[in-house]
């Protein structure tokens, strides 16, 4: 009964039906179940999957696991997919397409995707869309048109280890894993009821303040973007308008990503990076690579709800000095 309550609150927040909501053991699990189940449900029609190269690694790993043929939808420098490119990717294929994948927003560069428009264009071709909504859920309204969606509770302030799988009633979804004889056949094992309840509460709370917090963060990010664009040999990454309110990414020429992250850390700023030099694999971020933007000297900032103007001022003062110092070491 408590679980039903959590399901109903979640459904109301996301404007879906309660029987379309499943609590999974993580966001990754929700992506895997959602994507693989939709692929399996379409097995009689085809196997090919259309997707842009900027999707989250959980999507790429799941598709790799199926061995399904994939067609990459090209993206421009902003990372934002164009409907015409989706249709062109479809037309370039002879074999039938099982489904397309498009995230609501990108976790690394903040670019939002035209999910509803792409879903509508694909609906005309009878191709269902899987959307990874992890980056926007709880911050922005869920777009429409998708068949299956996934979210992650800890991304909107909920507990870790719980994900949301949304399967539209009209979607042809089949369990890709062994069935568990339970009420909700889309998952397995006993649901983590307290975590599901906490997820529903966190989602409601996050959405309630999303507009206020988002507007503030958006204004701060806009300021950082404008100033960062004036720094020499720096490229501000991601769509300038269609973007997440709290994420900002830029790349600086001639700078080692790890050295930059360390230097900013010493100044009290905790930032991420998509540069190869910060990863053990020596492989640069596949998102930056798909967009064709500079992968080294990359910095990713996620603003907290409480990030202040003063913190932003200090950041804007510190970065050019740090960049100049790091470049001076190599005579540039």
């Amino acid at each position: 009964m408590i679980l039903d309550n959590a399901r109903e609150v979640t459904a109301e927040c996301l404007d879906v039906r309660a029987d379309e909501v499943t609590f999974t053991s993580s966001g990754t699990d929700a992506v895997h179940r959602g994507l693989l189940g939709l692929h399996r449900g379409r097995a009689r029609i085809g196997s090919r999957v259309l997707l842009p190269g900027v999707e989250h690694s959980s999507v790429l790993h799941a598709l790799d696991w199926t061995g399904a043929p994939c067609t990459e939808i090209p993206v421009p420098l902003t990372g934002r997919v164009r409907v015409a490119d989706v249709l062109a990717a479809r037309e370039a294929q002879q074999d039938p397409v099982a489904l397309a994948v498009l995230q609501t927003g990108n976790h690394e560069v903040g670019t939002l995707q035209p999910v509803a428009e792409v879903a509508a264009a694909l609906a005309d071709l009878d191709i269902p869309l899987f959307t990874d909504a992890c980056a926007t859920m709880g911050r922005l309204p869920l777009p429409g048109g998708w068949a299956v969606a996934a979210g992650s509770a800890h991304k909107f302030g909920g507990p870790a280890g719980i994900g949301l799988l949304l399967v539209r009633n009209r979607a042809r979804w089949r369990n890709p894993f062994p069935t568990d004889d339970r009420l909700d056949v889309r998952t397995s094992g006993f649901e983590n009821v307290p975590a599901a309840l906490a997820t529903a509460a966190a989602l409601r709370a996050s959405l309630a303040e999303a507009e206020t917090v988002g507007a503030r963060q958006r204004a701060l990010v806009e300021r950082i973007r404008a100033v960062a664009a004036t720094w020499p040999d720096v490229e501000v990454v991601g769509d300038p308008d269609e973007r997440l309110p709290h994420v900002l990414t830029f790349s600086a020429l001639y700078v080692d990503g790890e050295a930059l992250v360390d230097a900013l850390e010493r100044e009290g700023f905790s930032v991420g990076s998509g540069s190869a030099c910060t990863a053990s694999t020596l492989t640069p971020s596949h998102v930056l690579a798909a967009m064709g933007v500079l992968t080294h000297g990359n910095v990713r900032i996620g603003l907290e709800p409480g990030t202040t103007d003063d913190q932003v001022d200090r950041f804007l003062a510190v970065v050019p000095r740090v960049l100049a110092e790091l470049r001076a070491r190599v005579g540039l």
């Binding site: 040999d233 490229e235 790349s251 020429l253 001639y254 700078v255 080692d256 990503g257 540069s275 190869a276 030099c277 020596l282 492989t283 640069p284 930056l288 690579a289 064709g292 933007v293 500079l294 992968t295 080294h296 000297g297 190599v330 005579g331 540039l332």
Partner: protein, 85 residues
């Protein structure tokens, strides 16, 4: 590959250098090439395939293309650039 000269005005060997060093070498050396001249840069770091075209875009230089390179001790790519300013 069309539009690529048989020999570049500046040849840079960045084999074994990890990101961001191939691009740093490019940044240090490209001004020694006259406008309209070409640079060939050999690199085996994976990031170079994204970062060298990105460098051209950010610095206003022309990226002419890349070709696979296989050597005795490994493989990488040779990138061609035309100096524009």
């Amino acid at each position: 590959m069309s539009g690529v000269p048989a020999k570049a005005d500046l040849e840079l060997d960045c084999l074994g250098l990890l990101c961001p060093f191939p691009v740093i070498v490019l940044g240090q050396r490209y001004r020694g090439v006259k406008v309209g001249g070409t640079i060939a840069i050999l690199a085996d770091d994976e990031a170079a395939r994204v970062d060298i075209p990105a460098w051209c875009r950010m610095r206003g230089q022309e990226f002419l293309g890349e070709e696979p390179w296989i050597g005795p001790n490994g493989h990488g790519h040779r990138f061609w650039i035309r100096v524009c300013e």
